[in-house]
Structures are given as structure tokens and as C-alpha cells.
Amino acid sequence: MIRNHKSQSSLTRRDALCRIGNGFGMMAFAGMIGDSLARAGTDFTPRAKRVIFLYMNGGLSQVDSFDRKLALEKYHGQPLPGGSVATERKTGTLMKSPFTWKRYGQCGMEISELFPHLGECADDICWVRSVYTDIPNHEPAMLMMNTGFSQAGRPSLGAWLTYGLGTENSNLPGYMVLCPDVPTTVGPPLWSNAFLPAIHQGTYISDKVAERQTEELIDKKFDPKKLVSYIYNDKFSLEEQRRELDLLEKLDQVRQQREEIRDPQLEAAIKSMETAYRMQTEAPEVFDIRKESEGTLKLYGPGSTARGCLMAVRLIEKGVRMVQVYYAKGDPWDAHADINAHRKNAKDSDQPFAAVVKDLKSRGLFKDTLVICGSEFGRTPVVEIGAGANGVQNGRDHNPFGFTMWLAGGCVKGGTIYGATDDFGFKAIDKPVHVHDLHATILYLMGIDHTKLTYRYSGRDFRLTDVAGNVLHEIIA
């Protein structure tokens, strides 16, 4: 935007503010120079202002968590009627879930023993049981879930959101990604700005401080400054940097005073120094979860997932537009060999995920914060052949045909179940929801028409939803 694009006059910030009618490009510019212009350019009344995306990388099994199938119990050990559905690997007969189930809340949602804490929030959550995606492979499916395209190189959901809506806190990045380590082998393309201006890139924070297995609520080694090493170099003190900046500002101003006409580029450059400096002080402050009460810390429980979730809520509270929390490094939910591996993952994430919902409510942020949770795909209701070891053959293969994701807050109807898979939980058959539909709905809740949020690049307009996407109006209150 610093270039004048098609406009015939150069813009100062004031001009930019007067020309919001020019659309999202201008909004992005305003965000870039640090002005909060939230929602000035929305297409609908926004229901939500912020997004937390809790990501269970690897592929949560829907039939072992939120989509109980009695037929699986009945026909356990028998072949799938009508012949097997081809997935990536060789699969065998139907396999029932090893977990017990319980009904929760007014809505009577059935949830497996893996997620008792989420069960307590059942009436606040909308369960979409008919999500499907295109490719049964982690990398393309994760890219699809995060960028709306199966190959690397498109802007991610968070980048589109900050591009469309700007940020509410100019001292922090508008889009942040938390994970103790690199989620899957994909990494940065998942939070890339791609061709959008660089400011919309997700800022990745590795919150790896110590081993996850600790039972303490906060590790003794915890130091928020270490987390944000991205913006912090311990070789330099803040006082020194303050003096550097003062000198720099003076020198820049000496040069600029000679000019009659103020140059918006140079103004923006000077302003960005101040923001950078403040970011160094504000970011460690937000990440310092030691400031939370004992009660709040207990609500989330121990471990890195819990820490990430609590940080996400703190960031959202400070006006960050979108925070994504990856469960852990690699693809931990990828239970090819033994579905019981879900037990440990669920133990680490059930309580913190539920705590996000509860904590947002107690902070008064639940209504305008949208929480999304899920994986890039689900798992097969049939057993996988060949992955297990030592006689254990109890795992499930990737399943892109139907899986469950849940949404909460942001005026999403709590206590509802949307769509359904077939009798065995393989394919979405009732009201199928493609990832594009989910993206369209998220943008809609944020007040954006997904067909209008475009960016012209390389000779054509790009959209998060490409040429697809239908808003799920039924799940919106």
C-alpha cells in the first residue's frame, strides 16, 4: 500500500482514514501503520471480534470422541457393508471405540470418556459432525484447514482476518500462533501471509520452556521473556535501545524537516520504531501467566497445552485478532497403531480446551470471541492393517470424508449438533460441510462476506474460499 496503487494522489494517514470506502486495501494500510480501525469495513454486523483456533494436529478420531456410532459396537469385527472405502493405507474390519460414553448438558450431547471437561461445556458448544476435506494427507489437509488450499503458498485464515479487519492493539501482532514446537512437518506455511502484505503474517511463538509432563501448574523455569525471544535479544538492554531509538528519531527528523511535504512512507517508518519498542515490553507482559490467580491456573491445569490456551485467552483479551494454539509438535493425534494413544493427548488437552470456554465466559469475552477446535481430518471407523506393533492392531487410518469440529462463542448456537456422518461414522451424509464452508462461516461471524474479501495478485483476485464456500446460517444464533 505504500506504493500508490491506482490512486492518483499520495496518501497521508488522515487521507486514508477519509477513504475507508476504498475497501479492505485501505483497511490493511491503516492496520499497518498501527491505527485501530476494527470493523469499519465489515459487510455484516460482526458477531465475533476475535478467534481462537485450537488445533488437534494429526487427526482426532470422531468415532472415539464426539460422534458415537452404535452400529460400530454392533458390527465390530465385521467388514464394512458395501465394500471398504479406500483410504491411504490398508484397512480391515469395523472397529468399535474402546472408550465409554456419557450424555452431557441440556442438549444431551454424547461425549466419550476422553473429554469429560468439554462435556461440562456441551451446552455452550456447537458440534459440526459433517466436516469433510479433500486430501487424506497431513500436509495438504492442514494447509486446506489453515489456508483454504492444499498446497503451500496461500494466505492463512488469520492473515485474511487481519487483512480484512486490522488489529485492535498496535503493540502486538494481530495474528499469533502458539505451539511448543513445530506443528507437523508443514510449519510456517500454515500461518503465512503468502502474497498479502508482510504485516499479516502470523507471529509464531514457541512456548517450549520445559518438558510437558510436569505436574506443576507453572514450571519454575518459566520466563516470558524467553518465549518472545523473537522480539528480544538479551545482549541489549531496553534502556540502551530506548536511547538508540531517541537518537534515530532525532536523526530521521533532522532529515525530514527539510521537506515541505510530509512523506507517509517515512512517517510510517518512524512510527513503526515506537511500536517495535513497545512490543518488546508489552509482549512479555501478556505472556506472563504467573500474573494469573491460582484459581485460573487450576482451571487450565498443568502442561504446555494448558499454558498455550491460557496465553491465547490473555492475548485475545489484549485485542489480538486471532490466536492459534497447536496441541503439540509433530502429528500427535495421528493414531495409526493404537487409538488408545488418544488417551494421553486428551488428558493434556481436554481440561485446557474446556478452560478456554469457561475462562472466556468469566472474563466476559465469550460472546464476541469465536472458538474453533478440530483437526485436519478424522479417522476411519475401520481398523488399520500393518501399523501396530507387538500384536497390537488397534489404530485407525486418515479419514477426509467425515469428521467433527466444534465451535463456541461468537454468537454460535451452543448445545447444537449440526450434520451427521453415516451409520459407521465414515462419510458426512447429512448437511456435509466442506472446509471452505467452515471458513465462509468464520468470516461471516467476523462480519465479512467471504466472496468480497479478495486480494488481487498475479493477475487475478484471490479469496480464502477460492470459488466455493457456503455460510452455515443454521448454527448462528
Binding site: V182, F195, F236, A269, S272, Y277
Partner: protein, 294 residues
């Protein structure tokens, strides 16, 4: 022909005669100087379609050699400078920033040809020899608006974001090169002469009295020991930090070291310790005058 000459023109002048370089159709922009576009296209053909000759013709023109001086009168008529009454001010590209810093510090290796290598503070060759991964674009390049290597880019954008400033403030690369430069000016007899020399090296001009004053005041106020004392000591070894997160596969190392966590296996090279003088030079390298072509 019009398309290619317009692109070459744009790369030199900041804006194209048609500033939608990939769209000369009805939805694209009309040329601001159609006669000029025709002239350049014709000349290009007459000269045997030599791009080198086209570059030379543009760069030898009076309009290319204009500076960016203001003119209230012209500004009122053509604020966006689409008729080229002055030079367009623009920030250096990612490659130019890195190369310029290395060049003024005297560290740049100008050798031509050879394989690409990852960009790190130790890599002293021109940035064009840096590795570009389509899958995982270098953090430094991305920060300074290198276009996505997956699709063709008709033009680059210039964003101004706080993280770029943090790169200048915190990266080992900038501090190191500033220290190298500081050593170079250290031979001058006093601070004033050193400041003047630094200005000649960094900006290729004399420092104004006001700038010398600001610099002297900064250096005097710095509580750090004088540069000479520091120089006498051997470089301090970085103490190993047990808590440092380090074994992730992609965390920013390379050009971003000092900013991101260190990459496992990345060697800790002895670094020149930060000094007041180095920080002063770093300020000069972060200034708008250095980063923008006037």
C-alpha cells in the same frame, strides 16, 4: 514490447507508465505517458531488443537522474508523481538492504556465480546467492517483502512493519556489521572525526554540524566503556544457555539469529561484543536515509 519496456521502466522508476504491469487490458490502468511508452517500445525493437541498451537508455535519461526534491507547485498538480517530476522515494528491497549493509561495512563478497547458500550472518556474498525455498521462504526475505516464490509477481510491495525495526534493533547480523564498521572508524583521532568518517562511509556525504552534535551527545551519554577499552579485551564467549529452546527444525536461525531461538547445530561463532560505537553505527544503518533511496 510495451509490456517488457514498461516492466523495465517500472523497476527503475518505482511506478510503471502503466502501473498495472500484468494487465494492459481494459481493466488495467491507462498509460500516463503513452508517447513515452511507444517511444521506448520502438527503440527497444530498433536496438535489436537488447535489454542492456534499454536499461542504459532509461538510466542515462534526465528523468532517471532527478533527485527527490519537493516542489509545492508540482506536488499540487501531480501528488503521486505519475509524470515523474521527481525521483520516487522507495525503500530498499530485501536483497538491497542486506547487500548495502555488507557493502558499507566493507564485508561484501562480490564474487559472481556459484551455488546458492542459506542466508546467515556469516554468509557474506550478495543476497541474490541466498537460498530461496518455495516451500519455506527465508524469514529475513519474507520480513522485507520478498514476493511469494510460488507464483509470478508483477511487482513487489513495500510494507513498513514493527518486526522490521526489531530486526534492526535485535539481530546479530546488523550489530555485527555495525561493529565491523565501528572498527574501521576507530582509527580517527577523535569522536567528531569518527562521526564524520562514519557518515562518509554510510551515507557517502558529510555530516551536518547538527548531526555531529547529536552523535557526540549520544556517545557521551552512553554509560558503556569507551570503544578502545573494549577493543583491548578478547571477544567475550557466549555462555551456553541450558534453557534455550533449540531443537525445532525451522525456528528462525540464519539472518534472524539474535531474534529467534538458535537452531540446533548452528555453531556459536565468536562475535564482536556490542559497543556504544557499534550501536551508534547501527542507528545510522537503521535510519530512513539509509533504507530509502532518495
Amino acid at each position: 514490447m510495451r509490456v517488457i519496456v514498461n516492466r523495465v521502466w517500472r523497476s527503475h522508476m518505482g511506478t510503471g507508465i502503466v502501473d498495472t504491469p500484468s494487465n494492459f487490458g481494459v481493466t488495467g490502468e491507462r498509460p500516463t505517458n503513452p508517447e513515452l511508452l511507444e517511444y521506448l517500445a520502438e527503440r527497444f525493437v530498433d536496438e535489436g531488443m537488447s535489454l542492456k541498451k534499454l536499461h542504459r537508455e532509461i538510466m542515462l535519461s534526465a528523468v532517471y537522474q532527478l533527485n527527490d526534491d519537493d516542489s509545492k507547485e508540482n506536488y499540487d498538480k501531480d501528488p503521486a508523481n505519475r509524470f515523474y517530476w521527481r525521483a520516487n522515494r522507495h525503500r530498499l528491497d530485501a536483497e538491497q538492504i542486506r547487500d548495502s549493509i555488507l557493502a558499507v561495512a566493507g564485508s561484501l563478497d562480490r564474487k559472481m556465480g556459484g551455488p546458492s547458500e542459506p542466508l546467515t550472518p556469516d554468509f557474506k556474498r550478495r543476497t541474490v546467492y541466498g537460498k530461496v525455498s518455495r516451500y519455506r521462504l527465508d524469514d529475513y526475505l519474507q520480513l522485507f517483502d520478498f514476493p511469494s516464490p510460488n507464483i509470478s509477481a508483477e511487482k513487489r510491495f513495500t510494507t513498513t512493519v514493527p518486526l522490521q525495526r526489531l530486526f534492526f534493533m535485535n539481530s546479530d547480523f546488523v550489530q555485527q556489521q555495525a561493529e565491523v564498521l565501528a572498527q574501521e572508524v576507530a582509527a580517527e583521532p577523535d569522536n567528531e572525526a569518527r562521526i564524520r568518517k562514519a557518515y562518509r562511509l554510510v551515507f557517502a556525504r558529510e555530516a551536518t554540524p547538527e548531526e555531529v552534535k547529536l552523535g557526540s551527545e549520544y556517545l557521551r551519554a552512553e554509560p558503556m566503556k569507551e570503544y578502545e577499552e573494549q577493543k583491548a579485551k578478547p571477544p567475550k564467549k557466549d555462555e551456553p544457555d541450558a534453557d534455550e529452546p533449540g531443537d525445532s527444525e525451522f525456528t528462525p536461525g540464519g539472518m534472524m539469529s539474535g531474534i529467534g531461538p538458535r537452531v540446533k547445530g548452528e555453531e556459536k561463532k565468536p562475535m564482536l561484543p556490542p559497543t556504544a560505537w557499534g550501536r551508534y553505527i547501527k542507528v545510522l544503518l537503521s535510519s530512513n536515509e539509509f533504507l530509502f533511496v532518495n
